[in-house]
C-alpha cells in the first residue's frame, strides 16, 4: 500500500457520482430541438454522443427521432474538425433539406477551443434558406436543463425579430420538464382568454405521436416564421429559473413584456397564472371551465388530506421541476425531506431539503432507515424503488418504461388535480 493512499484516505472528497439523474446538456439540447419545425440537432462529437442521444430520445418519446452528427475521428482532434463538420453538414443539408440546423458543440471541440465563425459564414453563403445556430453543450456545463435552455435561448437570440406588436399574441417558453400535455393545457388556458400562443419550443406538436407518416425531421413544432414573430408578441410567459434568460432577452431586445413564474403548479401557482392572464387581457370574467377546475382541485385537496398530510416523498428531478412540485406539496402538507437535483440554484440553497446529488444519496438515506412514502424520479429510480419496495412515480427525463407519459399534465388546476390523484393512488395501493 503506497504512502499516498494512506495520506489521501484522510483528506478525500467525493470523487465519484453513483447513479446520477443528470444527463448530458447535449441531450437536453437535442430534446428541445425536437420542438422546432424541420430542425435537426447536429452533434459535433464522437459517434456515440449522437447515436445514444438518438436512442434515448426515441425510447423516451416512442417516436422516430432525427439527429445527425459529424463523427469526430482521431485526426480531427489534432487538426481540428470544422472542415469535416462542414462536409457532413453539407451532406445532410443536400439529402434532408432541413430549415434549422442546431450545431451542438460537444466536449471535444469545446476542450480544443474550436471556432465556428468561418464555418457559419461558409454555410450561410451556401444555403441562404437554412438557419445554422451553434449551441455550446459541453459536458462540463450543466445538464439537461442547461442544454435545453441554451438551445432555446440561442434560437430566440438568432431569429426573433422586433416590430409592431400583435395584439392577442403571446409567447410561452415552457420549462424543460414540461410535457406535450402541459403545453396543450397552457395553449387551451390562453385560448380561453382569447390569446394566441407561440410556444418555443413546441414539444406538443413536434414529437408527440400526431405525426402520421415517417419523416426524418420533426414536421410540426415551432417554425422559423413563429420564431421571427415572437419579437412582436405582447408578452412572454416563462416558467422555471432556467428559462428566465430567454424571456429577459425578448424583453430587453424587443420590448416584449416578460412574465416569469417559478411554478404554475399547485393552487397558488395556477392562481398566479390566471391572474396574470386576466391582467394582460384586462378581463374580469374567467371561463366557467377554469372556475370548475379550481373547485375540483380544492375538492381533491380536501378529499386526500388525511392520506397525504405529512407524507414524505423523495424527489430526484431537475431543479425547476422540484420547485414546481414543492409549491404544490407545501399546499397539501407533503413534506419532502430529501430532494435531489443535479445542481442547485443559489436561491434554493436556503432550503436545506434540496441538495445537489444523485439517486445513490437517496439510497444511502433509505439504507440508514429513513422512511419515504414514494419516490418521484425518472426511469432510473426503478432499481432503487424495487429494492426498498417504495412506489415510484415516474416524472422527468428520460422515462423509457411507461407509455403515453408525454401526455401527462403537471401545470394549472388540471395538472395539479392529476398530480394529487397520482400521488394519493400510488401511496394508497401499497
Amino acid at each position: 500500500m503506497s504512502v499516498l493512499y494512506e495520506t489521501l484516505k484522510e483528506s478525500r472528497i467525493e470523487a465519484v457520482r453513483v447513479n446520477p439523474i443528470k444527463v448530458a446538456p447535449g441531450l437536453g439540447a437535442g430534446y428541445a430541438a425536437q420542438g422546432f419545425c424541420k430542425a435537426v440537432p447536429f452533434y459535433h462529437s464522437a459517434p456515440g454522443c449522437n447515436f445514444l442521444s438518438k436512442v434515448i430520445l426515441t425510447q423516451h418519446f416512442m417516436e422516430p427521432i432525427s439527429t445527425a452528427g459529424s463523427d469526430i475521428k482521431e485526426t480531427a482532434l489534432i487538426f481540428g474538425g470544422t472542415k469535416e463538420l462542414q462536409n457532413s453538414i453539407q451532406k445532410f443539408c443536400e439529402k434532408s433539406k432541413p430549415e434549422i440546423v442546431f450545431i451542438l458543440s460537444s466536449s471535444i471541440p469545446e476542450v480544443r477551443g474550436e471556432e465556428y465563425s468561418s464555418l457559419l459564414y461558409n454555410l450561410k453563403t451556401k444555403y441562404s434558406n437554412i438557419q445554422f445556430i451553434v449551441v455550446s453543450t459541453p459536458d462540463f456545463q450543466g445538464g439537461f436543463s442547461e442544454g435545453f435552455a441554451s438551445l432555446v435561448y440561442q434560437s430566440i437570440f438568432n431569429l426573433a425579430e422586433g416590430g409592431e406588436k400583435t395584439a392577442n399574441q403571446i409567447n410561452f417558453i415552457p420549462a424543460p420538464y414540461m410535457t406535450a400535455g402541459d403545453i396543450d393545457e397552457f395553449i387551451e388556458i390562453a385560448e380561453s382568454f382569447e390569446l394566441q400562443t407561440i410556444v418555443i419550443p413546441d414539444l406538443s406538436s413536434g414529437p408527440d405521436g400526431s405525426k402520421e407518416k415517417f419523416s426524418g425531421m420533426s414536421v410540426q413544432g415551432t417554425s422559423i416564421e413563429q420564431l421571427k414573430l415572437s419579437g412582436r408578441s405582447t408578452a412572454t410567459f416563462t416558467v422555471g429559473a432556467s428559462m428566465k434568460p430567454a424571456g429577459d432577452f425578448l424583453q430587453d431586445q424587443h420590448n416584449v413584456k416578460h412574465i416569469h413564474f417559478d411554478s404554475i403548479t399547485g393552487l397558488s401557482g395556477s392562481d398566479e397564472l390566471i391572474k396574470q392572464l386576466m391582467l394582460l387581457t384586462e378581463k374580469s370574467e374567467v371561463p366557467a371551465r377554469i372556475k370548475r377546475l379550481r373547485a375540483r382541485l380544492k375538492d381533491i385537496m380536501i378529499d386526500t388530506h388525511l392520506l397525504l398530510n405529512e407524507k414524505n416523498i423523495a424527489m430526484a428531478l431537475e431543479v425547476d421541476h422540484i420547485a414546481a412540485l414543492k409549491s404544490l406539496f407545501n399546499e397539501i402538507g407533503i413534506c419532502s425531506e430529501i430532494s435531489i437535483s443535479p445542481r442547485i440554484d443559489t436561491q434554493m440553497k436556503m432550503d436545506h431539503s434540496i441538495q445537489a446529488g444523485t439517486l445513490y444519496d437517496i439510497e444511502k438515506k433509505l439504507a440508514s432507515g429513513f422512511i419515504v412514502d414514494a419516490i418521484i424520479s425518472n426511469t432510473h429510480g426503478k432499481e432503487l424503488a424495487t429494492k426498498y419496495n417504495i412506489p415510484l412515480i415516474r416524472s422527468g427525463f428520460p422515462i423509457t418504461d411507461r407509455y403515453g407519459m408525454n401526455y401527462n399534465i403537471n401545470i394549472g388546476y388540471k395538472g395539479s388535480i392529476y398530480l394529487i390523484r397520482e400521488l394519493a393512488n400510488s401511496i394508497k395501493s401499497v
Binding site: N19, G48, F51, S107, I108, G216, H380, E383
Partner: protein, 460 residues
C-alpha cells in the same frame, strides 16, 4: 491496444493483404466506448467506472437489457462526471479517489475503468493510475482504453475482447477436486443474456451433460471469466465482434472454437450437436454418451417443432425484412426460415464481411440491402410486400409510423429469443404483432374524412 484490436489476421475472409479487418461503417453507429461497455457491463459483480463527462456515463446507465441472476452491482452507474476544473487541472487524482471510493463503498470483485474522449485528449495515463490503485486496494482495476473518437462500436467490442484477454482471462484458478471436469467444459462467448437469453441456453447444456465453465459475459461473475482458460472448447456466439477472444485463447491456451448461434431451432440443434461432435472426435466422451445425448437433442428439437405448429400455421408464407448487426443478421434469417417466413431483404450495413458471406449463402446477393436509411428500408418493405420489419429499437417507430408490424431483436428487448424456448417466444411474438386488431382499427377513417354529404342525407 488499438492496433491489436484492428489487426485480425484470424478472420478467414481477410484477403485484403493487410492485417486490418475491422468492419468500419460510415455512420449511424455508436462509438468505441459504447461498444466496449456493452461487452463488459454484464459482468455482474464488478463496478464499471466511466472516467469522462456525464454523457458517457449517463447515456449507458441501464440502457441495455442484460439480466442477472446474482449481483446487481453492474446496473449501477459510476462516473467521474468531469468538471471544467478537472479538465484544466487534470483529473488523475480524481480518478484515483473515485476508484478507492467505489472499492470502499461497494466492494466489487473488480473495477473496470473506461477512459473516454476527454481524459484521452488531456493525455491522462489511465493505465498507470489503474495499476497503482489496484496495488493499493488489492482488487483488480482494469483499464479499458476506448475513447469514442477511436472508432465505432465494433472496434470497441474488440477492445473489450483484448482487455479481457490481457487482464482477466487466465488470472483465475479452479479447484480440480471440487469443480467441473474442465476438459469437457465449454465457454459461451458473445452472449450477453439480453432478456434472459442465456437462461434458455444453459439448461440445454445441462441436459446434454456438457458443463459451462464461463459465460462471456452474460450473467457472469468476474471469477468465472477469470478461469475461462480452463475450458475445453469455446463457443463463439456474436461471431465477428468478439472473435479476437476466441482466436486469442486458441493462440494462448490452445483452446479450439466453433461459431454457433442460438436463434432458431435449427441453429440451436446445430450448436448443441457441434459441441458433442467436437468432444466425441477427441475421445473426451464415450460413444455411448455421445449417441445417448445426440438422441436427447433430437427429442428436444422434436418437442420444440411440435409446439411451433400452431404458430407456423399463421406465419407460413409471410415475408419479412431484417436489419440487424453481428451474428443476429444471419442467424435471424435462419430462425425465420424455420418458421416458414421468407426473408425478402436483409440490411447488411452493420454486418462484417464474414456475416455478409453467410447472409449471401442464405438469401442470395440481390436480397442484401447496403443502404439501410429509413427511406430505403420503407421502400424495400413496400416493394417486396413484406409483412414485418425485424430490426433494432431505433427503427421501431419508423415501422409503427407506417403501420407496419415490427419486432425488436436487439439489446433493448424484454423477451428472450434464445434457444428452443426462445424460438417459441419469437414465433409467439410475431403472431401477436401480426394478428393484432390494431392494424385494422387504425386504418378506419375519421368522421370528417368520410363522405359527409351522404351521412347528412342518411340522418335526415
Amino acid at each position: 491496444m488499438e492496433q491489436i484490436a484492428f489487426d485480425q489476421p484470424g478472420c478467414a475472409h481477410n484477403t485484403s493483404g493487410h492485417k486490418k479487418c475491422v468492419h468500419k461503417p460510415s455512420g449511424g453507429e455508436s462509438c468505441a466506448f459504447d461498444g466496449a461497455y456493452i461487452v463488459l457491463n454484464p459482468i455482474r459483480d464488478t463496478a464499471h467506472l466511466v472516467h469522462g463527462g456525464i454523457t458517457c456515463g449517463a447515456h449507458n446507465y441501464e440502457s441495455r437489457g442484460a439480466y442477472s441472476s446474482g449481483s446487481r452491482l453492474y446496473k449501477y452507474c459510476f462516473t467521474t462526471d468531469l468538471s471544467e476544473n478537472d479538465i484544466v487541472f487534470g483529473a488523475e487524482e480524481k480518478l484515483r479517489n473515485a476508484i478507492i471510493e467505489v472499492h470502499e463503498k461497494f466492494n466489487p470483485s473488480a473495477i473496470f475503468v473506461y477512459q473516454t474522449c476527454i481524459p484521452a485528449m488531456t493525455g491522462e495515463d489511465t493505465e498507470k493510475i489503474c495499476q497503482t490503485a489496484a496495488e493499493d486496494i488489492q482488487v483488480p482495476v482494469i483499464p479499458v482504453i476506448a475513447p469514442g473518437f477511436m472508432g465505432h462500436k465494433n472496434l470497441g467490442n474488440r477492445i473489450a475482447g483484448e482487455t479481457l484477454l490481457k487482464y482477466v482471462i487466465g488470472t483465475g484458478e479452479i479447484n480440480r477436486s471440487l469443480e467441473i471436469d474442465s476438459e469437457l467444459s465449454v465457454n459461451i462467448i458473445g452472449e450477453y443474456n439480453i432478456a434472459g437469453d442465456i437462461w434458455n441456453i444453459l439448461p440445454l447444456y445441462k441436459k446434454i451433460g456438457i458443463p459451462v465453465m464461463a459465460k462471456i459475459t452474460g450473467d457472469a461473475d468476474y471469477s468465472e471469466v477469470a478461469k475461462a482458460h480452463h475450458a475445453g472448447l469455446n463457443l463463439m456466439v456474436c461471431s465477428r465482434a468478439l472473435i479476437n477472444i476466441a482466436s486469442g485463447m486458441k493462440e494462448k491456451y490452445g483452446i479450439d472454437y466453433i461459431e454457433v448461434s442460438y436463434f432458431g431451432i435449427n441453429n440451436t440443434t446445430h450448436a448443441l450437436k457441434e459441441t458433442l461432435i467436437y468432444f466425441h472426435n477427441r475421445k473426451i466422451i464415450t460413444d455411448q454418451f455421445y449417441f445417448e445425448k445426440m438422441e436427447m437433442i433430437n427429442r428436444m428439437e422434436n418437442e420444440a417443432w411440435a409446439s411451433l405448429i400452431p404458430y407456423k400455421k399463421i406465419l407460413n408464407g409471410r415475408k419479412a425484412v431484417v436489419y440487424s448487426g453481428g451474428v443476429k443478421s444471419w442467424s435471424m434469417i435462419t430462425a425465420l426460415t424455420d418458421l416458414g417466413i421468407e426473408v425478402t431483404a436483409a440490411g447488411t450495413k452493420k454486418s462484417s464481411e464474414g456475416d455478409k458471406d453467410k447472409i449471401e449463402q442464405l438469401i442470395g446477393k440481390d436480397r442484401m440491402l447496403e443502404d439501410t436509411s429509413p427511406k430505403s428500408l420503407l421502400e424495400t418493405i413496400k416493394n417486396t410486400n413484406a409483412d414485418f420489419l425485424i430490426a433494432g429499437s431505433r427503427n421501431q417507430y419508423l415501422a409503427y409510423k407506417e403501420k407496419i408490424p415490427y419486432l425488436d431483436i436487439n439489446q433493448e428487448r424484454h423477451t428472450s429469443y434464445g434457444g428452443y424456448a426462445g424460438s417459441i417466444n419469437l414465433a409467439k411474438d410475431l403472431c401477436l404483432t401480426l394478428k393484432s386488431p390494431v392494424w385494422e382499427t387504425v386504418k378506419s377513417s375519421a368522421p370528417w374524412e368520410n363522405d359527409l354529404e351522404n351521412i347528412f342525407k342518411a340522418a335526415t
